[in-house]
């Protein structure tokens, strides 16, 4: 019984979110597009914040590739252990699973390598190397 209960709990976070409230994905994508037009007009922390917001909106709208794109720009400009980092781990894992389903070995390796790079980044940031 205990393990059955656990299994029921062990659903993906995205699924849980869907159960809680319906998400208007088109609205999120529209918001992300508007925000992406403003990126070039801001710099520094503001730009990183905007990039993370766009990544977050695309992630919520299940636009995985777009979310990865903006989070990767964010993390290349600011090697920090924030939301971009934690969401990228999840996004790469989603892409890794997709690659497994499609029997795409190169894709699977590509995203596992990306996760490895994030682990290295984590070590470097904590040690003050990044």
């Amino acid at each position: 019984m205990f393990f059955k209960k656990k299994k029921m709990e062990e659903t993906s976070s995205a699924l849980n979110q869907e159960n809680i409230e319906p998400i208007d994905k088109d609205k999120l994508i529209e918001e992300a597009k508007i925000l992406s037009n403003t990126i070039d007009s801001v710099a520094g922390d503001e730009r990183i914040k905007a990039l993370n917001n766009i990544g977050s909106l695309y992630f919520a709208a299940d636009k995985i590739d777009d979310a990865i794109k903006y989070y990767e720009i964010s993390i290349s400009g600011n090697k920090a252990l924030g939301k971009a980092y934690t969401d990228l781990v999840k996004l790469y894992n989603i892409k890794r699973k997709e690659a497994v389903k499609e029997k795409n070995d190169d894709g699977m390796k590509h995203y596992m390598d990306k996760i490895d790079n994030l682990l290295q980044l984590s070590k470097d940031v904590i040690r003050g190397r990044a």
Partner: protein, 426 residues
């Protein structure tokens, strides 16, 4: 027949060749090109031989430390280093072949358990699996197992740990990450759960470590080897002083005994450097090959990743966890000899990685107060468990070293306390 016998007796008994063949097998299963298969297998062979060379350097340095420590303080001083244990097991006890095959068996059992049960964890930290294979092989061999049973029992125990440890940690990992997308694959989980338990009892999770403003980064740990030097050089030099010039000079020849102690400390660091370079080369080919296979065979796998994956969720807790664990390990260093146990010296790298992760666990359930108190307890706990193994290691002929990662220590204790008595009774 002569050729077959020659291969069995002279080639397959060489651990470096066995592990290279395992890598070759993995790369072929991945349908890599012939050139990639051959170069990958050769790199694995090189990695293993470099690892052995590093271990040789470490052992010479540890023998020297053992002598001056006993002379200076009248007790045994033990360096916690799973690398040194691995090296000695491969070189001095000639268990390299069995460790290599157990390493493969752990992968296979992990895949089988994940494929056919509801626990879908695939343990992806290759280095940790190598250390687990080392410990199950050493203690399985000590229990009297040989040949295929040694490898199968070690592989089964290691495979169960590879699934059970991420599963045990998952309730807290879920709390930290907010989902079940990833799991933790680091064989220090018993310590993390102990820390979380203490933190839950004494802590207050409403006040997170992440609300504190701490200095950025642990700059002095930027380099693995500098941080090792920070502990090993003072340790060797101070011990040499206590041993005295008369005794020290009998070991140092024409060189001044303090300068010799300094150089021996540096030799230890060089040994770890070479050994870890070997491990990296060894695993660079073999791990991607087998994780590719594992993730294909278990399509709904939850990848159990190395501990830095959790650092991003609470960087301040990592810093506090490292400091707390170091304080705890120093307390335990002085405390344990009073109970008749060996003096275990603090291991800075374990304190950093295991201590940091323990901090993240503690913060998730007990906030900043829980983190500070529980990680000190963690430092004591992860020093106590390896201390319990020292008698067994001494009996087996290991020189002044004990294991670090507490899950591998737990597996070893499982062998020492349960499997060995059962096997000896049969």
């Amino acid at each position: 027949m002569i050729v077959v016998n020659f291969i069995i007796n002279n080639i397959l008994t060489q651990a470096s060749i066995t592990i290279a063949l395992i890598s070759l097998f993995g790369l072929m299963l991945q349908r890599k090109k012939a050139g990639e298969v051959i170069s990958g297998a050769f790199k694995t062979l090189l990695g293993f031989l470099i690892l052995s060379a590093g271990s040789g350097i470490i052992v010479v340095s540890l023998i020297y430390l053992g002598k001056i420590f006993t002379e200076g303080f009248g007790m045994q001083g033990i360096v916690p280093s799973i690398e040194a244990i691995n090296g000695q097991a491969m070189n001095n006890l000639h268990l390299g072949n069995q460790i290599a095959l157990t390493f493969l068996a752990i992968f296979v059992f992990n895949i089988i358990i994940a494929r056919f049960t509801r626990w879908k964890y695939i343990f992806l930290t290759g280095q940790a699996i190598l250390w687990m294979a080392t410990m199950t092989t050493i203690f399985g061999s000590f229990a009297g197992l040989k040949g295929a049973p040694l490898i199968l029992v070690g592989g089964l125990v290691g495979g169960i740990f590879a699934v059970a440890m991420p599963a045990i940690a998952q309730p807290i990992v879920r709390k930290i990450t907010g989902s079940d997308d990833i799991a933790l694959g680091h064989f220090c989980t018993v310590g993390y759960m102990f820390t979380a338990g203490v933190s839950m009892l004494v802590g207050d999770k409403t006040k997170s470590t992440e609300d504190l403003v701490l200095p950025k980064g642990l700059e002095f740990l930027q380099d693995t080897y500098l941080s090792l030097a920070l502990v090993m050089i003072p340790l060797y030099v101070v011990t040499a002083f206590f041993a005295g010039s008369k005794f020290g000079s009998t070991l140092s020849g024409d060189v001044n005994y303090v300068v010799y102690a300094f150089l021996q400390a540096v030799q230890f660091i060089v040994g770890v450097y070479v050994l870890l370079a070997g491990v990296r080369l060894l695993l660079a080919e073999i791990v991607p090959a087998f994780r590719g296979i594992a993730l294909k065979v278990v399509p709904d796998a939850i990848p159990a990743l190395d501990c830095p994956v959790l650092f991003a969720y609470a960087p301040n807790a990592v810093t506090l966890g490292f400091i707390g664990t170091t304080i705890g390990s120093v307390i335990a260093m002085f405390l344990l000899p009073k109970f008749g146990l060996a003096m275990i010296l603090p291991g800075m790298l374990t304190n950093f990685f295991a201590g940091g992760t323990a901090g993240v666990f503690a913060n998730a359930v007990g906030g900043r107060r829980g983190t500070i108190i529980a990680t000190i307890a963690h430092g004591i706990f992860i020093t106590l468990l390896p201390a319990l193994l020292v008698v067994s290691f001494n009996k087996m002929g290991f020189v002044n070293a004990t294991a670090t990662d507490v899950d591998t220590v737990t597996a070893a204790l499982l062998f020492a306390w349960f499997i060995t008595p059962i096997l000896k009774a049969i």
